[in-house]
């Protein structure tokens, strides 16, 4: 790569220098270099890499691994926050049950989210080590990394790391002399947001349309190719080695009094902040601290609202910045922590336009399986476009309210449409006046009553 290209190229911006990132406090990022160059096998092994694999596979049972994960309370970092240990304990294994799959959900397409990319580009072996441990706990025979197709550098580094790990005996038969066999393949996705939904991801991996599957049965009962399958986010899996290396108590203690959840979180800030980027901080760190680290809002602008963790989380107001950024606290405030990467919105930005942009994304990315999502989301887009142009009619905002409700949880096939409805309903709640400004017209004339034609 030429220097010119290299300078143009985007690099994940971890905004903590090596002095701050220590093994005891930064399990995800302590090995990384300030200059962003990747950590490959030699250095990874020198920095205690694969020690957890060697120890765990030889000294512990799969059930002990699962118990450790439960105790550590590692909650799914992909956004849903479901306990990884509990998920693993529900995976079918044992008599007559075929060994299944560990699938790493690396299809990072949530708007405003760029955390997994850092881990995969700069410390691919950490992910591989996490997957080996997850495979051991879940008795999986094979692993897949379902990677967002645009992450070309991550793909290159993972490919190299997989080969290194295989050559070093960390993948393949009889890993670390334990008798456990496991290998991993990299699968690059073709670019659909819905592939981040775990069952749609599995369908896509199988070569089917990326439509989500009904649950139950959950992937742990019948997943990829009908076999027990565990799907975990990159960051979740990257937490596993540290949990097993240093113990669940240690991990749980990382977040101190900030949160009931254990460990650290790769937080980030994007939007009109002075210094956007990523920080590994104890889970439960407040939005205020995070925004401080990001240098605050750009000069001349005021924070109007923020999305706590991606486009599918609900808007929060400046007053919510004091809340600890963990799953339960943000959930109580009416939003979701999601991926934990804040998107800040300032008073210079139109909420209606922002919503139109977001809903256009979600409408486009609907897989087209269930009706509310497939046909309801485009309607919200059309209405938002009308409001944006000042062509709204009376009743439009009420229709948006209704759509936001009807696209909510339990009514659609998967969480895609509820994810699209959450920012919409919170925007309508907090910034209704901005929407009302788009209504310039009376309701169009109603159709005349049809002539009654008797009974059915």
């Amino acid at each position: 790569m030429t220097d010119a290209l290299s300078r143009l190229r985007y690099r994940c911006q971890l905004r903590q220098d090596a002095d701050e990132r220590r093994e005891e406090t930064h399990p995800l990022t302590w090995r990384l270099h300030d200059d962003g160059t990747p950590v490959f096998l030699k250095e990874y092994e020198d920095k205690d890499g694969y020690a957890a694999v060697r120890h765990t596979l030889n000294e512990q049972t799969g059930a002990q691994v699962i118990d450790a994960m439960k105790t550590a309370n590692v909650r799914g970092r992909g956004g849903a926050g479901f306990s990884a240990g509990v998920k693993w304990s529900l995976t079918l294994q044992g008599d007559g049950m075929p060994r299944g799959y560990i699938v790493c959900n690396a299809d990072e397409m949530e708007p405003g989210t760029f955390k997994d990319r850092l881990l995969m580009e700069q410390t691919p072996h950490l992910l591989i080590e996490g997957m080996i441990l997850a495979a051991y706990a879940n008795n999986a025979r094979y692993g897949y990394i379902f990677l967002r197709g645009e992450y070309i550098e991550a793909a290159n580094h993972i490919t190299r790391a997989l080969k290194e790990a295989r050559d070093a005996g960390w993948l393949g038969a009889d890993i670390a002399g334990s008798g456990f066999d496991f290998d991993i393949a990299l699968h690059t996705g073709a670019g659909r947001y819905i592939c981040g939904e775990e069952t749609a991801l599995i369908n896509s991996l199988e070569g089917q349309r990326a439509n989500p599957r009904a649950k139950p049965p959950f992937p742990g009962q019948s997943g990829a190719w009908g076999k027990p399958t565990v799907v975990n986010n990159v960051e979740t899996l990257c937490n596993v080695p540290a949990v097993l290396r240093h113990g669940a108590e240690w991990y749980q203690g990382l977040s101190g009094q900030l949160s009931n959840d254990g460990g650290t979180k790769l937080y980030g800030v994007s939007g009109r902040a002075k210094r956007t980027g990523l920080w590994e901080l104890p889970i439960g760190t407040s939005g205020t601290e995070l925004l401080d680290r990001a240098g605050g809002i750009r000069d001349g602008e005021q924070l109007k609202a923020w999305l706590p963790g991606g486009g599918s989380t609900g808007f929060l107001l400046p007053e919510h910045l004091e809340l600890p950024l963990d799953f339960d606290s943000i959930g109580k405030a009416g939003s979701r922590m999601g991926t934990g990467l804040l998107t800040v919105v300032t008073d210079q930005q139109s909420i209606v336009s922002l919503m139109r942009n977001l809903e256009a994304f979600f409408a486009r990315e609907s897989c087209g399986w269930c009706t509310p999502c497939r046909d309801g989301l485009p309607w919200t887009v059309k209405i938002l476009q009308a409001l944006e142009r000042g062509e709204g009619e009376q009743g439009d905002i009420e229709m948006l309210d209704k759509l936001a409700t009807d696209l909510g949880p339990g009514r659609t096939f998967c969480a895609h449409a509820p994810g699209a409805a959450m920012p919409l309903s919170s925007a309508l709640q907090y910034f209704r006046d901005e929407f009302e400004r788009g209504v310039r017209h009376e309701t169009g004339p109603a159709h005349a009553d049809p002539i009654p034609v008797g009974e059915v």
């Binding site: 659909r192 349309r209 599957r213 009904a214 139950p216 049965p217 009962q221 019948s222 190719w225 009908g226 409408a363 486009r364 990315e365 609907s366 897989c367 087209g368 399986w369 269930c370 009706t371 509310p372 497939r374 046909d375 309801g376 989301l377 485009p378 309607w379 059309k382 009308a386 009619e393 009743g395 229709m399 209704k402 009807d406 339990g410 009514r411 659609t412 096939f413 169009g444 109603a446 159709h447 049809p450 059915v456």
Partner: protein, 921 residues
């Protein structure tokens, strides 16, 4: 069983169902789209939302999709709940966003599930004011019309076409609100079951192209319960008529036979009824070559009776495509000793053996629904998709049933269709197919062997021997066959319900004996198996049970001058025996009376040709390959719209001829009299009277209506002929009236249902109102009477084991293979079937083609004593050499087993009427 509480009322339901299935079975209306009783639930459309409460104290509840919610004991749900109603209204409103306002010009209108559901949910105002998304449509062949703008994206089409029927060329393309259902490029849909898309599709995306050409709204059609005459499976159909033409055929639900689906030959093969060249008046030919003169009924009967009376012996040739009643009346006219079945000897031998096996092999004959419950299937010498397509579809469901069994083991309900598919992947119950060429079920078979007919028999005998060592051993069995036989025997023995399927397609009694031996061996090993035997024509089974001589015998009687008159019933002899042979025999007869509804070469040889009624204009009884006697009912009176026609049921003509021959005055006769007489004379057929209720059957004191109550234009129908409207035709033969007056409801259980309609349910989904549970049986019981059941006794194994097949060095042999499109006499005369069939291809092994210097796509010249024919060739690796495979229906002169000479042909076989293999009447 479980108790559920719906809107405060308690019901007892099957605990294995989902809530939608349970509620619909209770007669409660919940709107739905993507769910289908034969295809289960996928939860896509979200239309069937109901409110479910945790317990009696929960007054908030939450919305669930009833199709995806398992029935739990003490479940509390509300259909009427305000939130659920509003959500369901929202769903229809979303579905209608892009749906065009084209109901008045849409062919689905009037039997459209989307219309019904829209009315049911109360959506009647459009609030979406933006542009609609539009699609381009595709040409999908002669059967199916495509209008994608109407699509509501329920995914039923691809789920039926691919998952249920095994098609591969229809798919879902695109995403978000731009999902497109079609082929990757325009072209004829390849599946033999594509017609079901018209009923599976809840709206007008896939409509009946053949109907489109002569379109009539469902409510303006006159219906009667019909039985498909296009093969021996006996599917129940609902043919619809307007202006003296059959306009479309829809599935008629039968819980034990076809259930929801038909094959395309049955659905689109009715065109012969509407042909303009049909005989409609009696025709008399004084001299064999003379132009015929038309006669009126009385004159025709007089001349016919006189001629028959003058003859010293009259031979009757019956027909396996005519009803039992018509065959019986012919037999009655000519006398038992003078009656031929009209079936060629080799085929009749197979039919007799099959009937014998059905009674004596120890295993029952399963109906189609039963077939789907078997867990290992061996098919010997049949390509079911070609010879009995609907049965083949059932075999497919049997084989796929393994996925449901696996799901149940894992606690996944069998109705959870996508989950069952995911878990099962490609696990299937074992299916073995032995046939000379590739078959339609090969794709799901564990093993398929391409064998010559004799080797198929040897394989079958070897399987029987492996199952029961007292079955005869096959001498000198080749190692690969022995190995295959071992595996087949092992799989059949391991199964709970093994199924053996065979039949007469290859005209081989040896194969049938082998199948019978396997069945016998399984029954001796106390397996709850089944034996299904495929016959060729609609009434082959019944006619064999009635009995009669071979067709060759009849011709011999004439050739030997043992008889000088012939009455031929609905049978084209040229379809069955070589033309020279038939010509020769017919030329010996002084009188040839032919009754038929088609202008066949045989009819052209008639001294007296009588216009017979087709299935659409006659009543009668057929016996299906399952041994089920089923009644079909007259749909319309051909004389009402065309008063000049003199079409009568064959049994009426024959009754009149018999009376005239005896110089008796001709009294009228009714169907019930003929049926009773037939049953009385043939003890094996005694049950046929119960196949359907007699003419005196009434519901609520009235006859049954053939026409929907919205039938329009009745009084104006004949206004172009005469302004005074005649009395509607009376029907003395059946409980149906040619009228909208009469009972057409669903609340009184009945077996004979002309068309399914219930208030609010105009689409085929209305059948759910007629069944004991959705997808179950008609509440009055499924129609028809089974006549062929196993009888106890000690039966011995057959030792009819042929020598291993060795190709002859100096001659080629023909094997005629059944062909779904174009391979059946009457449907081959229907235009859409002709268009779909295309050219008949001959099949050769690549080695043979190479030896003959024929490239794939080249032509082969078949040379016999009777003439020469050229066929385009398809080579198929693995098929036995020394044999040339020709599809049925190409040329009657070419018969299985015939030695022929072959040569490469430089002629382009296309577009030359004399030389193509294409079927053109």
């Amino acid at each position: 069983m479980a108790t559920i509480h719906v809107d405060g009322r308690s019901y007892s339901v099957d605990g294995a169902d989902n809530l939608l299935h349970a509620c619909l079975s209770l007669g409660l209306d919940i709107p739905y789209f993507c769910w289908h009783p034969a295809m289960g639930s996928v939860g896509a459309c979200r239309q069937c939302a109901v409110k479910q409460f945790k317990d009696a104290d929960d007054d908030k509840g939450m919305l669930v999709m009833s199709c995806m919610a398992p029935v739990q004991n003490d479940a509390r749900i509300s259909i009427d709940d305000e939130e659920a109603r509003e959500f369901r209204a929202s769903v229809v409103e979303w579905l209608m966003i892009n749906h065009p306002h084209d109901c008045p010009v849409c062919e689905e209108g009037g039997h459209c599930h989307l219309q019904d559901m829209t009315v049911m949910t109360g959506h009647d105002r459009r609030r979406y004011r933006f542009r609609k998304r539009t699609h381009r449509n595709q040409y999908l062949g002669p059967f199916i019309a495509h209008e994608m703008n109407r699509c509501i994206t329920c995914y039923r089409c691809v789920r039926f076409y691919n998952d249920y029927a095994g098609g591969t060329d229809l798919g879902a393309f695109g995403a978000n609100n731009n999902v497109y259902f079609g082929r990757y490029e325009e072209g004829t849909l390849e599946s033999e079951f594509s017609g079901n898309l018209t009923e599976v599709c809840p709206t007008g995306v896939f409509t009946d192209q053949a109907h489109s050409d002569r379109y009539t709204r469902k409510w303006d059609l006159q219906f009667a319960p019909g039985i498909c005459h296009q093969c021996a499976v006996g599917c129940n159909i609902s043919p619809g008529e307007r202006y003296g033409e059959i306009r479309r055929i829809e599935n008629r639900y039968h819980g034990e036979v076809n259930r929801f689906f038909l094959c395309d030959r049955g659905r689109f093969g009715y065109g012969y009824v509407n042909r303009k060249d049909r005989p409609t008046q009696p025709e008399w030919r004084a001299e064999p070559e003379a132009e015929p003169v038309t006669l009126d009924v009385n004159a025709a009967l007089d001349r016919g009776s006189d001629a028959l009376r003058d003859a010293y012996r009259v031979i009757g040739i019956g027909s396996p495509r005519a009803s039992l009643e018509s065959n019986h009346q012919l037999r009655d006219l000519v006398g038992e000793g003078n009656f031929s079945t009209g079936i060629a000897a080799d085929e009749l031998a197979c039919l007799e053996l099959m009937a014998d096996l059905n009674r004596t092999c120890g295993l029952p004959t399963p109906n189609l629904r039963d077939i789907e419950e078997h867990d290992a299937v061996l098919v010997l010498g049949e390509d079911l998709i070609q010879s009995a397509a609907r049965l083949g579809l059932s075999v497919r469901q049997a084989v796929l049933g393994r996925r449901e069994a696996l799901a149940e083991d894992r606690g996944i309900p069998t109705w959870n269709a996508e989950a069952v598919k995911t878990l099962g992947q490609d696990s299937r119950y074992p299916l073995f197919v032995a046939y000379p060429v590739a078959t339609g079920l090969d794709g799901i078979a564990e093993n398929r062997l391409r064998l010559a007919p004799d080797d198929i028999a040897r394989l079958g005998h070897a399987v029987a021997h492996r199952i029961d060592a007292s079955a005869p051993e096959v001498p000198g069995l080749e190692a690969p066959l022995a190995e295959a036989a071992n595996r087949m025997a092992e799989a059949l023995l391991a199964a709970t319900r093994p199924l053996v399927v065979s039949g007469g397609s290859l005209n081989s009694t040896a194969i049938l004996d082998a199948a019978g031996n396997i069945a016998r061996a399984l029954s001796r090993r106390a397996r709850m198996g089944g034996l299904a035997l495929v016959r060729r024509e609609a009434n082959s089974t019944g006619l064999q049970m009635m009995g009669g001589q071979t067709l060759e015998w009849a011709l011999e009687q004439l050739e030997a001058e043992q008889a000088d008159a012939l009455v031929i019933l609905e049978n084209d002899l040229y379809e069955r025996l070589p033309a020279r042979r038939v010509d020769h025999a017919l030329s010996r007869a002084r009188t040839v009376v032919v009754l038929d509804h088609q202008r066949t070469p045989t009819l052209e040889r008639a001294t007296l040709a009588l216009p017979a009624a087709s299935f659409a204009e006659a009543d009668g009884t057929l016996v299906s390959l399952e041994g089920r006697a089923q009644r079909f009912f007259q749909v319309y009176d051909p004389g009402y719209i065309r008063p000049e026609t003199r079409i009568r049921e064959s049994w009426r003509w024959l009754h009149a001829l018999a009376a005239g021959r005896r110089r008796e005055s001709i009294s009228d006769i009714t169907l019930d009299q003929v049926t009773r007489d037939c049953a009385w004379r043939h003890p094996a057929l005694a049950g046929m009277v119960g196949a359907a209720p007699g003419a005196d059957y009434r519901v609520q004191g009235v006859k049954l209506a053939r026409e929907p109550h919205r039938y329009s234009g009745r009084t104006a129908m004949r206004a172009n002929i005469n302004v005074s409207e005649p009395r509607t035709p009376q029907d003395p033969d059946t409980p149906f009236a040619f009228s909208m007056e009469g009972y057409n409801g669903f609340d009184r259980p009945r077996q004979s249902v002309a068309f399914a309609w219930a208030p609010g349910w105009n689409s085929p989904q209305a059948w759910n109102k007629f069944t004991d549970e959705v997808g179950g049986h008609l509440r009055a019981g499924d129609p028809g009477i089974r006549l062929l059941e196993p009888v106890p006794g000690r039966y011995v194994y057959s030792s009819n084991i042929p020598q291993a097949y060795r190709r002859s060095d100096d001659e080629w042999r023909l094997v005629i293979l059944p062909r779904l499109f174009g391979g059946e006499e009457t449907s081959a005369r229907a235009e859409p079937i002709q268009a779909r069939a295309g050219q008949a291809l001959a099949v050769l092994s690549p080695e043979d083609a190479g030896a003959l210097n024929i490239a794939d796509g080249g032509g082969v010249r078949v040379i016999t004593d009777d003439g020469q024919w050229v066929f385009p060739v398809r080579t198929e690796a693995g098929c036995p050499s020394g044999l040339l495979f020709i599809p049925a229906g190409a040329y009657a002169a070419l018969r299985s087993g015939m030695p022929v000479s072959l040569a490469a042909s430089g002629d382009t076989p296309r577009d030359d009427k004399g030389l193509t293999g294409e079927v053109r009447p």
